[in-house]
Symmetry: C2
Subunit: 403 residues, 2 copies
């Protein structure tokens, strides 16, 4: 039978990262490609104990739950967010299947085909996939290392009348960059003035390499809530990076009416996410010092980032440069102008190392001489070898250019 797909299906891109993972399957590859946290740091024992406690309760734990999610966990998330400067009540929170579902559901209730959306470039690939599936008209706001440029933002707010601005302002995927406080304030102010919703995607914000007081960057949501009258920022976070991804528990926070509408969309989408996972996280937050765990993984990721940074710097590749991220999971490497990282990739895989070519993170006009390197998943002792293999691939690439 010939299947006649919807227009949305025709706009579903295949993920470049998945294609890369296929390339690497069954081979002795050191992968800096995946966006994976370090498995060795997962608090497996505490997680196991939490599930055991949850399932030692009565049979009602296995029944259907509320679409909005398990209430005590929503309360705890509200408490944690309030402590981070985002005063919310649990009724302003819906739990989702990872923050990916939060992005999808928000786009579903906000975007009609052709609606304009502003993003940074490069930005989170799977958000671009969602925007494409809703056939949004995606425009890039010019950014520097401190965030979106206010003049360009205002110009594009005027010109495109967007419905949504999407950003990962803290330890971004893919670049690791963090917006300055000044730019954060300016962005919220402009979006409020033009009545444009912001989706602040903050999966990495708590993984900071600076342990000093006040190092935690002020979120757009916190700035927004310091104003009177309505919210323009919708905020999403997840336990995937601070506990573990397999529990698939994220959250979305926003204007109460918007959150009610989003809950209706979630009800149609899947009734609710796993309450066993949500209850286990609620249990975990009671007995386990999550603050200490986050400090522990942040320190270890800092060490791993430094190791990768040192290895890359020591090579002195002509034209290559990068900035050390202050947190998160990724380092963004720019190579010499004449190198196309997508064409470099198969050579690198042949040599035994994988990365994500930077071009996939751009909605348009990609910088092809860039790549995203993950530093959290690869065992530290393999990092020098990974960089060595990358160098071998670069040498082979340059030789081909000369032929």
């Amino acid at each position: 039978m010939n299947i006649n797909y919807s227009t949305a299906a025709k706009h579903l891109g295949s993920s470049a990262v998945r294609e890369i993972l296929k390339l690497t399957q069954g081979k002795d590859i050191i992968s800096l490609a995946g966006g994976l946290p370090g498995e060795d740091l997962f608090p497996l024992e505490a997680v196991r104990e939490a599930y055991t406690r949850v399932l030692s309760s009565d049979n009602t734990v296995l029944q259907y739950g509320l679409t909005e999610g398990y209430d005590p966990l929503r309360d705890k998330i509200a408490g944690r967010l309030s402590a981070q400067g985002i005063p919310v009540s649990s009724s302003e929170i819906v739990l989702t299947t990872g923050s990916q579902q939060a992005i999808d559901l928000l786009c579903k209730i906000i975007l009609d085909p052709g609606d304009a959306v502003l993003v940074e470039a490069p930005t989170y690939l799977a958000a671009l996939q969602v925007l494409s599936s809703y056939r949004a008209d995606v425009h890039t706001v010019t950014s520097d290392e401190d965030g979106m440029l206010p003049d360009d933002l205002e110009d594009k707010l005027r010109r495109y009348r967007p419905k949504l601005l999407y950003a990962v302002p803290t330890f971004s995927n893919p670049t690791g960059a963090t917006w300055s406080e000044e730019r954060r304030i300016k962005t919220v102010e402009l979006c409020r003035r033009y009545g444009v919703l912001i989706l602040e995607d903050n999966p990495y914000g708590e993984i900071t390499f600076d342990e000093s007081e006040g190092a935690y960057p002020l979120s757009l949501a916190a700035i927004d809530r310091s104003y009177n009258g309505g919210y323009c920022v919708v905020y999403t976070g997840t336990f995937s990076k601070i506990v573990a991804p397999a529990l698939r528990t994220g959250w979305i926070v926003g204007d109460p009416e918007l959150i009610r509408t989003l809950a209706k969309a979630k009800q149609a989408a899947d009734l609710h996410s796993s309450t066993i996972d949500q209850r286990a996280l609620d249990e975990l937050l009671q007995g386990f010092d999550i603050g200490n765990h986050i400090r522990l993984i942040s320190r270890e990721y800092h060490t791993r980032m430094k190791l990768l940074s040192t290895e890359l710097s020591s090579r002195g590749w002509e034209g290559a440069h990068f900035r050390e991220p202050q947190g998160g999971m990724f380092l963004w490497l720019t190579l010499s102008q004449d190198i196309n990282a997508a064409e470099l990739l198969p050579l690198a895989v042949d040599k035994g190392v994988a990365f994500v070519p930077g071009e996939v993170f751009y909605p348009a006009q990609p910088m092809r001489n860039t790549m995203r390197l993950n530093f959290t998943h690869t065992p530290p002792q393999l990092v020098p070898l990974a960089v060595q293999r990358l160098e071998e691939a670069l040498i082979m690439y340059q030789q081909r250019l000369l032929i």
Copy 2:
């Protein structure tokens, strides 16, 4: 801020069942309204042991998983379906967050606004909500107790050129009805001839009250796969009713290319569902006799259905009638023509019993003198009291009619 929602959001209905649950909160109500399995029958101990075994493995169990779901569980589902006459390989299966997500994702990849979809009336409420959110043009095929009428089906296939036919042909929600084999064959044949996809939603099929050999109804998917050349049936099932809903694990089976497209949609929607839940189910299927468990709950549900049936019959309400379902979770009660069940509901809640008015299950032209009664969740000893309260509400309703 004034939020400008998408057209899809404007088409998200609020669930009548949720509104009823709100009515009943905090009161001494016997609810026959929810679509809940009996909590007392959940295999909590076996589930706990399964989670413990999964989480006694190494740290990789907490890492991101495949969008399609945990491979060994897909294999086991393929094995179970093959034993039920649907020969599939695991590559034709995607695991979803309950079968609700399967319905949503299939609609997402198939339906554009205005596309025609054929359904029975009454049919599953949350499927109607999904169809509405994709702005499908929903048409009803006339049915009798054996399923859709072939002449009317063919007429509507010709007239509306639908993209999809949605049905719950076995122990339906809300009616409990089961299609005859002849009608199943005819429906598949006609849809194949007109090139129309069928979504066979089968959450209840294994909960059969007839234990004789061959009592298991032939699924539309099994019939479809007896033809050569392509599949027209997409099939969805779930562990929610045969193990427990909180694990939120369903599956969707279909044409391999369609399943690949659906996996792409799922990737954008939430990356993947909880792998901990999926692994726990995989463990459960190894050590636990699920066939025996399904027989056990089916027998108990049969007893509970008989109890409700006997209580209702013994009342002899004028004009009231119903057919005993042969399986599943629901009994569909038709009252005297002059009774509007939605108007009866607040009186019933006052008396201490709740049900779902039948009208919410119709896309149009509802039969207002109908109601859906769930017989699986209420403790058996409360059923006589529930029916007694329903009678008191009916008496009060009739008295009002007389005033």
